[in-house]
């Protein structure tokens, strides 16, 4: 086994893995909670609108 070559190419993979891992961590920590909260609010608003419409129709 050529350990020098293994080290070289594993480090190349590790670099991408690390950058992608950090980016995914930032996305989940700093963006996902806001997106989920806004989606829930949007859903609640839609439900309320639907209920209001149903009430009007009935």
């Amino acid at each position: 086994m050529n350990t020098g070559a293994l080290l070289l190419f594993v480090n190349a993979i590790l670099t991408t893995l690390l950058s992608a891992g950090i980016v995914i961590w930032i996305l989940r920590k700093e963006y996902l909670p806001t997106i989920k909260r806004l989606e829930e609010e949007e859903q609640t608003n839609k439900n309320m609108e639907f209920r209001n419409q149903m009430k009007k129709e009935s």
């Binding site: 050529n2 350990t3 070559a5 293994l6 190419f9 480090n11 670099t15 700093e30 997106i35 949007e42």
Partner: protein
């Protein structure tokens, strides 16, 4: 043929530089392209810094002689991780604080003219040392190939660079860098694989049997292990805070552009460099004994590449020189105009005068660079020896402490930066003149970084931060690039859908590039390592 390529390439870059000038209307356009940079442009300008005359000629030559492991698996690996640190931590944080240059951050954080003056002086001297020597080295090689007198070549280069850096500022540099990135990509993805193919992966792998320790961790030169590790650390710390990389983040449109750049741009670092260095090893198979080894790339281009492609390779070499030099021009010009004149002297100047000042600073730098490059004073070669490490030992401890330590203050910053630079140069000179004898396993870089950190902590504990420093620290802790990005996207009609789409796109990029990386480098692991 080579001359035609040279003039066509220079003409294209000048035209591109002139074309973007019409978009530069105020200081924000000039310094950070009004933060309109797309993912393509920011990846392009970042990746264009990966290939320089040092990579193609200097490190390429060392890999040719000594093997790739100490210089690439340690040195370059440190540079890749340093780039990630520069983009995702330093650049992203400074951008969230609306900084347009790194000294701009020091000014905002400490509000102390001496910190700014020391930081800017270190930056100008180190960048000049690093950039001008590259310009000289590559210029000498290029002048010989093109049969153009060296001073004429330098005048042509600086003249061309001046057009797009003085007229376009960061806008001109980012756009031309992206054009140069594609030319450089041709070297990494077409020319280098062609040379590797001629030698064969098995033959490159077998170099270890012909040259002892060619694939060893310490290389054929049997470098001390302490030196190999110090290279890894030095490149992380140097690249982690160098203005040449951190400043690429400032023109980005928003946080999603920065995050996508962190994935794609960082993937491009090993992609562009490993193929070049494998081609250097391939040249050892095809033509051993090239002396000086720095000419390895030129020999590969002239003797082992079809002439049309050799022209593209030459254009790539020129792109790597021009990209480094344009970064040098634009950043030192910004340091003179914005950091020294506007910030330190507190000159309130309007948009129009500020733009003229920025352009005038570029002209001053161009004249200085041109004179230094043509005269080639010995002091510039002396500065270049210390240039990279100077950022690592002086700026890095100060930047991290400024972000993370509540007690950090201007006195600690001055003590740390001065102690780091002075100890590094003094110890280096004493060791070189054999006045002191440091173990080959204990590079003086380690001593200086320890001295720099010790000076910072000691001064930080003995002194107190000012009211401004305490206030700015608290403000900094609450400022996030993601918050401003979310706000700006949600302000648009259908903002939530756009936010969701950007989130998904960035996530997909991250996963996709991991897959591409595993497949690509996995292929080489199977064929060369196992």
């Amino acid at each position: 043929m080579e001359r035609i390529v040279f003039f066509i390439v220079v003409a294209i870059y000048i035209l591109a530089g002139v074309a973007v000038t019409r978009y530069v209307k105020n200081k924000d356009d000039f310094y950070v392209m009004s933060e309109k940079g797309s993912t393509l442009l920011i990846v392009g300008t970042l990746a264009a810094t990966y290939l320089s005359a040092v990579t193609l000629l200097g490190i390429g030559g060392m890999v040719y002689n000594e093997g790739p492991v100490p210089h690439v698996a340690f040195g370059s690996f440190g540079a890749w991780l340093g780039t990630l640190f520069a983009v995702i931590y330093v650049g992203r944080k400074m951008k969230s604080l609306n900084c347009q240059t790194i000294p701009d951050f020091f000014e905002k954080r400490f509000n102390n003219k001496w910190v700014t003056v020391i930081a800017v002086s270190i930056m100008i001297i180190a960048l000049l040392g690093y950039g001008v020597v590259q310009l000289i080295g590559a210029g000498v090689v290029l002048a010989e190939i093109l049969d153009i007198p060296f001073p004429v070549l330098i005048l042509l280069f600086t003249g061309a660079l001046l057009i797009f850096s003085a007229l376009g500022g960061m806008f001109g540099v980012v756009v031309t860098d992206t054009l140069m990135f594609f030319t450089m990509l041709a070297i990494s993805l077409i020319i280098a694989p062609l040379i590797i193919g001629q030698a064969g992966l098995d033959q490159i792998k077998s170099l270890g049997e012909v040259i002892p320790n060619y694939w060893g961790v310490t290389g054929a030169e049997e470098r001390p292990m302490g030196w190999v590790v110090s290279q890894f650390l030095m490149w992380i710390l140097f690249f982690g805070c160098t203005p040449a990389l951190v400043s690429r983040v400032f023109p980005a449109k928003n946080d999603f552009v920065v995050l996508k750049t962190a994935v794609i741009g960082i993937f491009c670092a090993p992609l562009m460099q490993i193929f070049i260095f494998l081609a250097a090893a391939a040249m050892q198979v095809l033509q051993p004994g090239i002396d000086p080894a720095d000419r390895m790339f030129i020999v590969g281009l002239m003797d082992y590449t079809p002439s049309a492609l050799a022209g593209v390779g030459l254009a790539g070499l020129m792109a790597s020189i021009m990209s480094t030099a344009s970064t040098l021009f634009v950043l030192t010009g910004f340091a003179l105009a914005k950091d020294l004149f506007e910030n330190v002297l507190h000159k309130d100047i309007d948009e129009k005068k500020g733009l003229i000042l920025g352009r005038a600073a570029q002209i001053v730098i161009a004249v200085v660079v041109c004179i230094i490059a043509i005269m080639q004073p010995s002091s510039i070669f002396w500065i270049s020896i210390y240039a990279g490490s100077i950022f690592a030992v002086s700026w890095m401890p100060t930047i991290i402490a400024s972000f993370e330590w509540k007690r950090m203050n201007s006195k600690a910053a001055i003590a740390s930066m001065s102690a780091g630079v002075i100890s590094f140069i003094v110890l280096g000179e004493l060791n070189k003149r054999e006045v002191i004898h440091l173990s080959p396993n204990f590079d003086h870089f380690y001593v200086s970084i320890i001295i720099s950190i010790a000076a910072l902590l000691l001064t930080g504990f003995l002194t107190k931060p000012t009211e401004h420093e305490q206030f700015y620290y608290e403000q900094m802790k609450t400022s996030k690039l993601s918050t401003s990005t979310i706000q700006s996207i949600l302000a648009k009609p259908n903002g939530l859908a756009e936010l969701r789409s950007e989130y998904k796109k960035t996530f997909t990029y991250a996963v996709s590039f991991v897959v591409i990386s595993v497949v690509l480098w996995g292929y080489f692991i199977v064929n060369m390592a196992l």
